[in-house]
């Protein structure tokens, strides 16, 4: 009974964090940017035709989708309470994990829209002057060696634990998890390399804001790596000790931590009051 109640609490927390708290933070942030940086004064911020109107429409759509997901989530939670997850532990796990994917979809949509916006900004650049920092960007300028060491140690701990559970065999479920983890870390390595050494994603970004963006991305990947290793260790222990009824709860907590350390870190590292919006002014009006 207690495990079921804990699962409800975790699911309620997941709804609050992924479908209310962070969507509200993001929506407030977008509202602030649109209200205080109109296209008339900051034309480079809106590279699309009728960009300000489109941004406002996008904000309304984002609020609508996240609210809709929240309502569906509340209904699912109430239904689960009414029927006490009568469909079984594995179905509860699938429900929590599947719903989390639906909850993060609006954030991915925002991220893709942002990339499209930057790509349009790049296409619209008219200035013939280009600037660069004459300072090499090194990984540990952005990452704490302690956090990095923790991430590596946890990853190694999990890999040893995984091999132990699989009887040091190179086949089976353990290898699938190992492969997924490997792909995730290769993706992180490419992502970090891209933001550090690749082309500026946002062409108008000031040097200081770019540093903030890189710091956010680097910290983000480290935190997600730590949480993923920890989660897999906990999940492995749950399966090892046949505590299947805690699976759904652990997955829910995992997603909430990912949101806090992933989306939360990016928002904390890129505070609106620190960002330089003057770079989006018209060149003739820029100071």
């Amino acid at each position: 009974m207690i495990d079921t109640i804990l699962t409800y609490i975790a699911l309620a927390g997941q709804l609050y964090v992924l479908s209310y708290y962070y969507p509200k933070l993001l929506a407030d942030r977008m509202s602030y940017v649109i209200d205080n940086h109109p296209a008339s004064e900051f034309p480079k911020l809106y590279p699309f035709k009728n960009g300000e109107e489109k941004a406002k429409e996008g904000l309304v759509q984002f609020k609508f989708i996240t609210t809709l997901i929240l309502i569906i989530g509340i209904l699912l939670l109430l239904d689960s309470i009414a029927f006490q997850f009568s469909f079984g532990d594995s179905a509860a796990t699938a429900l929590v994990a599947g719903f989390a994917l639906i909850q993060i979809a609006p954030f991915i949509w925002i991220e893709i829209s942002e990339l499209k916006q930057y790509s349009m900004m790049r296409a619209k650049i008219k200035t013939s002057k280009r600037t660069a920092d004459l300072k090499p960007r090194k990984y540990f300028d952005y990452a704490s060696p302690v956090t990095f060491s923790i991430a590596v140690l946890l990853l190694i701990t999990y890999l040893i634990f995984n091999f132990y559970r699989n009887g040091f065999s190179l086949v089976g479920d353990g290898m699938i998890t190992f492969g997924a983890l490997l792909i995730m870390h290769i993706f992180f390595a490419f992502l970090v390399y891209w933001v550090m050494r690749g082309q500026k994603i946002n062409p108008h970004l000031s040097a200081e804001d770019r540093d903030r963006h890189i710091t956010g991305t680097v910290k983000n990947t480290l935190y997600v790596s730590i949480i993923a290793s920890l989660f897999l260790l906990v999940f492995g222990l749950i399966q090892h000790y046949d505590l299947d009824h805690y699976e759904a709860m652990s997955i829910s907590i995992y997603w909430q931590l990912i949101a806090h350390l992933g989306i939360g870190t990016m928002l904390r590292e890129n505070k609106l009051e620190d960002l330089n919006f003057d770079v989006y002014r018209d060149d003739t009006a820029a100071s």
Partner: protein
Amino acid sequence: MQIEINIDDETPLFTQLIEQIKNAVLSGVISAGDPLPSIRQLANDLDLNNKTVAKAYKLLERDEVIITRGYRGTFIHENARKNSTKDLNGLVIQELTKTIETLKASGATDSEIRIAFADAMKTERN
């Protein structure tokens, strides 16, 4: 320290880069031993071809303004300040102008000088 290039300027991009780095050394913004960004990083930041930045770095290395230390990266040379004042390109123009004046005074035509210069360069390369 920020460097700035102008893609519409008549000065070649690699020359602008060389001048900017030498100016940074002369003004003391960067000094001996300071690390420089990798070719790829600078090329991506300035949205230039890697080869343009590589060419600038190669010429700066030849002039002993920068030094490449294998995988550790590229650094400002210990004699960079002194070497940044050297204008090898200026010297080449000055010497060639002097030679052309002498040749013209001897009665050589523009096309004769051009063909002879190309031949001399070819011979030197072989």
